[in-house]
Subunit: 221 residues, 2 copies
């Protein structure tokens, strides 16, 4: 398998993200804006990427990422998101301060490193922003996120994201010990005020208000 340069990886990732919203054709200007480069530079790079077979491209008609390109992009995204989990879960960074470091770490080349990191982090399925982490084959969970408050008694779910990302709410979560990746078991729900009794990580039970459970995004198996 051929290797891509850092710049090529960044372009490919941008193209992947811009086309992931269902859109087929990705425009030169959109790529330039996302990467903070000039359209002329994008034209140059696109030609190079199409020669390498990771995008197809008809002049003036925009680019399409190929299957090979998608695989390459997803591999970079996998690395990015795993490093973000590492920074937040192991080095105590806040989820809003890890992106720039992950932008650098995502280019480190070693698949053994990444599989070991994945294992060390206990195979997380979502990054600290709630985005799914592709597996080694580039497949990621399409399991839709649901709001914790909507689940019935007895369900087990994994916390993957928060709706409210304000400092006050995050601080509250810090104190309860709830964090991305926590396994939540719904023990009881009170009709009176909508609060629920949950068990976190098969460990401790606590009561959370409806206001809290409305802001927790989870996935069920």
């Amino acid at each position: 398998m051929f290797e891509l340069s850092f710049a090529e990886e960044n372009y490919l990732k941008a193209i992947y993200h811009l086309s992931a919203d269902g859109k087929r054709q990705v425009n030169t200007n959109a790529i330039a804006e996302r990467l903070e480069t000039r359209p002329a530079s994008v034209s140059d790079m696109i030609r190079k990427l199409s020669e390498k077979g990771v995008v197809t491209y008809v002049k003036y008609q925009g680019v399409n990422i190929t299957e090979v390109g998608k695989k390459k992009a997803l591999w970079v995204i996998r690395k990015h998101r795993l490093w973000e989990v590492f920074l937040v879960n192991k080095l105590n960074f806040h989820w809003d301060e890890v992106h720039d470091i992950a932008e650098q770490l995502e280019h480190i080349r070693s698949s053994l490193l990444i599989s070991r990191l994945d294992e060390f982090l206990e195979f997380p399925k979502f990054d600290p922003h709630g985005d799914p982490i592709p597996n080694a084959e580039g497949i990621m969970s399409s399991n839709p996120m649901t709001i914790l408050s909507e689940l019935p008694i007895g369900k087990t779910a994994e916390l993957v994201s928060m709706k409210d990302t304000g400092a006050v709410f995050l601080n509250y979560l810090d104190r309860t010990g709830l964090k991305i990746g926590s396994k939540i078991n719904i023990v009881d729900k009170m009709e009176f005020d909508g609060s629920m009794e949950i068990m976190v990580d098969q460990d401790k039970t606590m009561s959370i208000s409806k206001q809290v459970s409305d802001n927790l995004l989870v996935i069920t198996e």
Copy 2:
């Protein structure tokens, strides 16, 4: 503070290592050989580095690293060695397979990342190869390593390196749980065969033969 490119960091690190052996002048050819580049490329880069003030240089007379240059080199070395500790202690790599990955990781820019990593690793003083890790100010332990078997009863020491690095010995250490960074307390020494009773990490005591303690390099406080 100005930033150096990856290539500049690699040159500076090579120059630092080549002059660390007490030698003052570092030769163009020596740098070229170490970095697997051509002497002509080294000449180019040296001019650039001297303009940035990290080396001084008189044509045909070799280079000297400056204090500023030394500080920059030690910062890269600190990152390299901390990442090596991470790879070995946390991701279960073997000490002989981490160098190439650390060569990449050493260029990641974020001093907060490094201080968090240092903390996460519990402030190691030596890397998995027994080389000292500079602190944030670029100072590293010059505490000489001694052979464990030479220490008297009652001493506490930290395991920093092994003399015998063969698979058989390393395998033995794996099984005993002894590893770089372990705190070793000498509980007793047997005159009969030179074996010693040690306590590892204030946790479990064990007996090791003289053949083993002869191959363990430690530092005392």
